[in-house]
């Protein structure tokens, strides 16, 4: 009981509700992805207790996935990428005057998915982390290489561009004092760079600032009508009908969530397809099928929890949102991975309980939040962009009271904008920044142990297994990249 009281004490409960609320609003705004909504809050977590901060950020992720379905159903504009599949039948239901029912199905299916994903997270993470406890520096290096090998699946169809982005991220991570000798690198004489570039600044710039630079030149998104604001929860009979679609969503969401790089969007579309395949009324799909809303919404909410399995157990973020959550851990001096369960078990327990609370908060807030969410979605876009940027500029300065940091964020924003123009994915860059220290420090530590002998990475059995997995993953990606197109 002490464990529960400790995890739920302090600001955990308000953080879960506040995070979920922020997430629903953020997710409801087209262009604000869950990761952007999380990145906007990241600077504010500096002064918080670690548990509060992590629960706040994780709850944003949970809330945003439901929030994304609101404009997807009402104005055929997905608030988040993962809710794109919901537009197909959700908007059709809205056109048939069943918007409230579609939103209710989305909410309940999201809850089912979120709770199922949480159960998977609790059961799978610690055993995986216990295996990782026996890791040597060589194994940690190979683990980071394995983490980087998922670049291909994060590269949106161009492995080479993904590799360049990841290398750029790894280069950014080398800025500051060298982890072995302490020699300053790429600091250009600036004391502000001696400690390196904090991943949080890169994330906020790449996700939030670059998105606003894009959005300022885009036309306004559609408006939702006020008649749509009554939410209707599914009846028992409807819930029975939705069970199969929700179960499919949970299964696919679990698989896609624990696989780094796959994410909620892929899970939602796959779940939609499979739900259609296994439905008793497949002909209704695309014409306003309730199952067509339930399956993707279950799947993308399962991912909010299962995407944390590789992050918590191995320290590898497999999605944008997991990378932001990793940033939240790093801010508080916590390194996700096997040692987290030994060094800060209260944070892990707090996160589990916080996710449970966030799902409950999503249900409660979902019942009452529709009217204010619609009000927010209908605000003129110029005011929203201005408010978001004011928040970014203020929040980033607040971290270290440094305009230098604001400059780094703006630079990262411009880089993100240019990378998008060139079709270069930004997530590998983030992955490079957050895994950079792990790669280099363990690589060089291993070489110190082996007196410069690189065979040490193949002599360590765990390292050998991880490197083999990384090689297999890379080979498969290369085949997909080059073999499939020829």
């Amino acid at each position: 009981m002490d464990h529960i009281a400790s995890a739920l004490g302090g600001w955990t409960v308000p953080a879960a509700f506040a995070g979920c609320l922020w997430g629903i609003f953020g997710g409801a705004l087209p262009g604000i992805s869950p990761s952007i909504a999380m990145a906007l809050l990241l600077p504010f977590t500096y002064g918080m207790e670690p548990v509060t901060a992590i629960v706040l950020l994780a709850s944003v992720y949970v809330g945003a996935e439901y929030g994304g379905s609101i404009p997807a159903i009402l104005i055929r504009t997905p608030g988040t990428n993962a809710s794109a599949a919901t537009t197909i039948d959700g908007y059709e239901m809205a056109r048939q005057g069943k918007a409230g029912e579609a939103l209710g199905i989305s909410l309940v299916s999201g809850l089912v998915g979120g709770l199922f994903g949480l159960a998977v997270l609790v059961l799978a993470t610690e055993p995986l982390a216990e295996v990782a406890l026996a890791f040597t520096p060589m194994a940690y290096f190979s683990l980071a290489i394995l983490g980087l090998s998922v670049i291909a699946s994060l590269s949106g169809g161009s492995l080479l561009k993904g590799v360049i982005a990841a290398c750029l991220g790894l280069l950014v991570a080398t800025i500051g004092s060298d982890p072995v000798s302490g020699v300053p690198r790429f600091t250009f004489g600036s004391p502000d760079l001696l400690g390196g570039v904090r991943p949080i600044l890169i994330m906020v710039g790449l996700f939030a600032v670059s998105e606003m630079l894009v959005q300022i030149g885009e036309p306004a998104w559609g408006k939702a009508e006020k008649r749509d604001t009554r939410l209707k929860l599914p009846s028992f009979g409807m819930q029975r009908r939705l069970f199969r679609a929700q179960a499919i969503g949970c299964g696919i969401g679990t698989f896609e969530g624990v696989t780094p790089g796959a994410g909620g969007t892929v899970a939602a579309f796959m779940a939609y397809n499979e739900a259609k395949r296994w439905s008793k009324q497949p002909e209704e799909f695309g014409k306003g099928s309730p199952e067509g809303v339930a399956a993707p919404e279950s799947a993308n909410n399962v991912v909010t929890a299962t995407a944390l399995v590789p992050l918590l157990s191995l320290g590898i973020p497999g999605s944008n949102s997991a990378a932001i959550l990793l940033g939240g851990f790093l801010i508080h001096g916590l390194q996700p991975g096997p040692m987290l369960f030994e060094k800060a078990p209260e944070v892990v327990a707090g996160l589990y309980w916080g996710l449970l609370l966030a799902n409950i908060a999503m249900l409660l807030l979902g019942l009452v939040i529709l009217t204010p969410a619609l009000w927010l979605v209908n605000r003129p876009k110029p005011y929203l962009i201005a408010a978001i940027l004011a928040l970014v500029l203020s929040g980033v300065f607040a971290i270290e009271q440094s305009f230098f940091d604001v400059g780094i964020v703006l630079t990262a924003g411009v880089v993100g904008y240019l990378l998008r123009l060139a079709g270069v994915p930004t997530l590998p860059l983030v992955l490079g920044v957050v895994l950079g220290f792990m790669v280099e420090s363990n690589y060089r530590r291993s070489l110190v142990i082996s007196f410069g002998d690189h065979w040490v990475f193949l002599q360590d059995p765990v390292s050998l297994i991880l490197l083999s997995l990384a090689a297999l993953l890379t080979a498969w990606s290369l085949w997909r990249e080059f073999g499939r197109k020829t």
Partner: protein
């Protein structure tokens, strides 16, 4: 403490990989049409450049004007730049952002934002 790779080893290896990947990209684009990125009009780029200039102007002006005034002006300017009609709504919005920022960041969170050299800070 030193190792066989040294402080420059990893950055140089990364640069080599980037150069190799870049060369392959060039080669591939010569052999077939490169996959397109996001295409935008010149006007959209100009709009983004203008927004960036406003953010830089905020960073430069904040130490002189002080945080509340600078962030309020910034928010109002961005809203107007984004297409909001100039008038009392934009002014009220800027004032609201300034008040929210000052109360939230300065008073509640205790962040030491610049007071502004023109106000004797």
């Amino acid at each position: 403490m030193s190792d066989a790779v040294g402080a420059g080893g990893v950055p140089m290896a990364l640069a080599a990989v980037m150069a190799g990947a870049g060369a392959l990209l060039v080669l591939r684009s010569l052999l077939r049409a490169p996959p397109a990125g996001e295409s935008r009009s010149i006007a959209a780029h100009a709009k983004a450049a203008g927004l960036l200039a406003m953010m830089i102007a905020y960073v430069l002006a904040a130490p002189m004007l002080g945080y509340p005034l600078a962030i309020g002006l910034f928010a109002a300017a961005v809203a107007a730049y984004g297409g909001a009609r100039l008038g009392w709504r934009v002014a009220a919005f800027g004032a609201g952002v300034a008040a929210f920022g000052w109360l939230g960041f300065v008073k509640l969170l205790g962040v030491a934002f610049p007071v502004g050299t023109i106000f004797g800070g």
